[in-house]
Assembly symmetry: C2
Homo-oligomer: 337 residues x 2
């Protein structure tokens, strides 16, 4: 983007017979320049289409006005992370509004999260980092705190340190979901989770246990599955459960893929959704509306989560000594009726 005729401070200064310094100050309404001069400077700046050069400024101030979001790629199927797109959109919009730009750093499952973050840090091309897909005892948090780099996490980890995060109240979601199934009369309730070290899944397990304990139902480990769900694996797993001697009558899905897999099995087995088996799931509000029977859906406004992540991060950047924010999104549970 070199189109050579880009206006800079020097040109404006020359045109007005002012110094570069005064122009620079005028453009940011410095109190030390005459209001009339400010007006003249701004007028010329506007006419020649002046926009401060990103890199000149970054070099001088050390601030880049760029935020980087580290997002893992899913291998299974892109349907598996529907929520990521509105998250990205929410982040970019919020960043844009305050003059930041958002850079996306995708990591593949092969990437070592800590190592790739190290490399990211060294380029020091961002003022702050948004990291996601937290795992138990996440080393990245310690690293970032050590280096005093502004960051915010999407999701929590189990460390005894304060760090800024935005998270979804997974415990409550799982509790609500399980509770709803219990209320429908289910006692054998299957639960889909992601890999064990995934912090969100661990939290959901807690909510599930709490609801089950309240209802006085013992936990049956064989009904709880950890894994990376695709439609196929979800279908296979649920099919196996239904074939057992004491099949589940309720299912809490991990995501939309899990739901679609389970629905497929129900269809194949001729079981009726909403009577033979009750299902609750997440983030599938639209799809749920088209199902023959009502299912419970817990949904979170991911665009709002994205916006909040950026806002929290920007506050960390401008006020590193400020309070360490911890924000929990409750989301909405639509019980179906």
């Amino acid at each position: 983007m070199k189109s050579g005729d880009m206006a800079n401070l020097k040109q404006i200064a020359a045109e007005l017979s002012l110094s570069v310094t005064t122009v620079s100050r005028a453009l940011k309404d410095g109190p030390e320049v005459h209001p009339l001069t400010v007006a003249r400077v701004k007028e010329v700046a506007k006419r020649v289409g002046y926009v401060p050069d990103h890199h000149g400024r970054a070099l001088k101030t050390g601030r880049t006005m760029t935020l980087t979001a580290v997002l893992p790629m899913e291998t299974s199927d892109y349907l598996s992370d529907l929520a990521k797109l509105p998250l990205i959109e929410g982040m970019t919009l919020a960043a844009r509004q305050t003059g930041y730009s958002l850079s996306i750093y995708s990591t593949t499952p092969d990437d070592d999260p800590v190592e790739s973050m190290r490399r990211l840090l060294q380029a020091r091309s961002a003022d702050g980092l948004i990291i996601t897909r937290m795992v138990s005892g996440d080393a990245r948090v310690k690293l970032l705190l050590d280096q005093a780099i502004p960051f915010v996490t999407f999701g929590r980890t189990d460390l005894d340190i304060a760090y800024p995060y935005v998270d979804i109240d997974n415990e409550q979601i799982a509790y609500d979901a399980t509770r709803r199934l219990v209320d429908k009369g289910c006692r054998r309730i299957a639960l889909q989770l992601l890999v064990p070290k995934d912090q969100a899944s661990a939290t959901r397990l807690i909510g599930y246990r709490r609801a089950m304990a309240e209802a006085g139902i013992p936990i049956d480990q064989s009904l709880i599955s950890h894994g990376t769900f695709t439609m196929e694996s979800s279908a296979a797993w649920f099919d196996r459960l239904l074939a057992s001697s004491d099949p589940p009558t309720g299912l809490a899905c991990a995501n939309e893929l899990g739901l679609l897999g389970a629905l497929h099995v129900l269809g194949k087995r001729g079981l009726a959704l909403g009577s033979d088996v009750h299902i609750v799931t997440r983030d599938s509000t639209r799809l749920a509306r088209f199902l023959p029977a009502k299912i419970g859906v817990h949904s979170v406004d991911m665009a709002a989560v994205g916006r909040t992540l950026v806002e929290v991060l920007e506050r960390r950047i401008t006020d590193p000594a400020g309070p360490v924010e911890a924000i929990l999104f409750k989301g909405e549970f639509d019980a179906g009726e």
Copy 2:
């Protein structure tokens, strides 16, 4: 990201009693420095964890090593653009491999595409642009060509100028889809398209017309719908068609939302997929596998499209005088059986 102890050329130079110039050259294997010196410099650079400063370099060279992708946000529903996530992932990975980073610029439907692009250009914070959602006579292409800014479009527009693009062969997709329905015996074939000015939709219409003409079937405008599809609007539209005196027996969906809406209507009306009505759609390979009857699915590897976009753009940047590439992705049509 200020963590003050970041190594720079000066420090390395001081440590080795060399000049900054020599260090700089040594690090990029300049032929004018002694191989032994190169080795020593690199060794120290590695030890102190030197990484070239992005902004210093950008300021000096005018190159930022950043690419910006302009992506529209969908208002209707995030399901509507499933393909965007793998596109983003493909782009970021390809960019990363060659040392670029990818910045995402989301535009809302309220944004004037040309105006927001202007603003984007002025900040000159990217070496090149990827623009999407092309419209008829897209003004952005002219603007970018005028300013000699490296760019590539995802999708084509109808201008008499050569410009680099990567596109999906929508005409062929629509042709294949229509042809498949004709082969199934359909003569009343409904077609879902996006808004008329959307270039991809216009191209698909051409493919549809070609297949219909080949089959000797006259076009019935009432079977062709332009609009922004949600599940609900797709369902309502298709329901209306089915209620008419001469209902369609075939349907080519615009996307997965359109498909889900149509499936819902079939279920409600008790019509059988694959006998009463045949359906073809796009990018729903996984979902299709779970449907009671086989449907035709045309799928494109969007991650590959993303990678290609970045690669073409990088070639534009390094060799602006090089050939203007135009790449068409055929995708794969899975006829169902």
